[in-house]
Symmetry: C2
Subunit: 210 residues, 2 copies
DNA sequence: TTGGTAAATTAACGGTGTTAAGTATTTTTA
DNA sequence: TAAAAATACTTAACACCGTTAATTTACCAA
């Protein structure tokens, strides 16, 4: 039955077209300018056709949010080659900030917008596995650092939340225009790195010993 | 001219009615359920009348965002009585987290939503003075702590950004449902306090000396 | 060729922010 | 006090939005 296969492939192709169009719209014009009608226009179908491939708009954003995590993962592909876990931690934080600031619309849908979480709440498997995996990786890394005596021992969960909280806080405040006056635009990213380095420096044992 | 005064007062009364209605709506039903028509319904005027008192919806949210800062300031009224600046810093952070978690819709419009900043961008005085004042207070406090040798010396701006970033990151991740699985709901606030205490503990000199 | 199925569309519903034009109402002036 | 001017408010409409029901078109199997 090659016919069924081809049909299935066509279906996947159109799904991809829809996601590509959505991505184009929200990268170029921003989240709030992504509308079902504009998506339909871009792929040259009627608006209702989109609903044959996705349950609703939230589901589309859920898929975009997944693509965002994929992109983020690619950005972290330079991590495994860093042997020193503490250096890996520094780099991980810097990657996070850079990813957020260079892909603001992706960051928005991954960590700020309600839409993908609303879609998630209506799925059978309601876990935010992508996010939980990411924070899990941070916890494992922190654990390794502590075991090797590179950073001060402390409850891993609390430290992980603190670090994630800080980098997310910096990026999301910047994205939502709350840092416009505090730091000049061109120094924003470098100041964030300074803050991150300060935080990691305070828990860095080699730093404190000196 | 008592008439002009009375008219002016009436005008202010209606403005207040509009803001009260908006506040009621967004506290009880959430930000996205605040619509011009619902506001008009609540105050029993036609939708267009609202535009005679506010330029647009963003301007209404700007005023709500101001009221949020006022509420936050009230919550910090217990700070001046704390003589030890380091203890004041702890309390300030805890207040921030508590305010955000107890007034999620206010927090949303103050630090996450675009609306008030969009309104600000179209005003003659484009400074986000409320936000900048708040972060300024944090910087002054940190400066005092450093001068008295209570915490390790470091660039004030970077440390302030790190602390603000962290508490904002924690609260905003929670508000936007990114911590549902990571921490059980009932332990969320206490875990945030743990993270904050961990961060401040690492820079607390009295803590490190022991 | 016909019948059935899958895919896509048209039309519509109820909502949104916002504006232009028109109607009351109130105040000022002659 | 009556007419004119200014103020306050409403009605109607525009151009959107997400979403659904009903309908048409395109395709494949017998």
């Amino acid at each position: 039955m090659g016919i069924a296969e081809r049909k299935e492939k066509q279906k996947q192709d159109i799904k991809k077209m829809i996601l590509d169009a959505s991505m184009k719209l929200f990268i170029e014009e921003g989240f709030e300018h992504v509308t079902m009608r504009k998506i339909a226009d871009l792929i040259e179908y009627s608006p209702t056709t989109v609903y044959l491939y996705f349950k609703d708009k939230n589901e589309i954003f859920f898929h975009l949010h997944e693509l965002g995590f994929q992109k983020m993962l690619e950005m972290n592909s330079n991590l495994p080659e860093i042997k020193n876990p503490l250096m890996r931690l520094y780099k991980m934080g810097e990657n996070y900030i850079n990813f957020g600031m260079q892909n603001q619309e992706f960051y928005d849908v991954m960590f700020i917008q309600h839409a993908p979480m609303d879609a998630l709440a209506q799925m059978e498997n309601c876990d935010w596995s992508l996010g939980d995996t990411a924070i899990g990786a941070l916890q494992v890394l922190l654990q390794e650092c502590m075991e090797k005596g590179l950073i001060q021992k402390a409850p891993v969960e609390a430290v992980a939340m603190a670090i994630w909280g800080m980098v997310h806080g910096l990026v999301s405040l910047a994205i939502r225009d709350r840092m416009n006056k505090l730091v000049p635009k061109e120094k924003l990213v470098s100041t964030m790195h300074t803050s991150l380095n300060w935080l990691l420096g305070t828990i860095d044992n080699s730093f404190n010993k000196e």
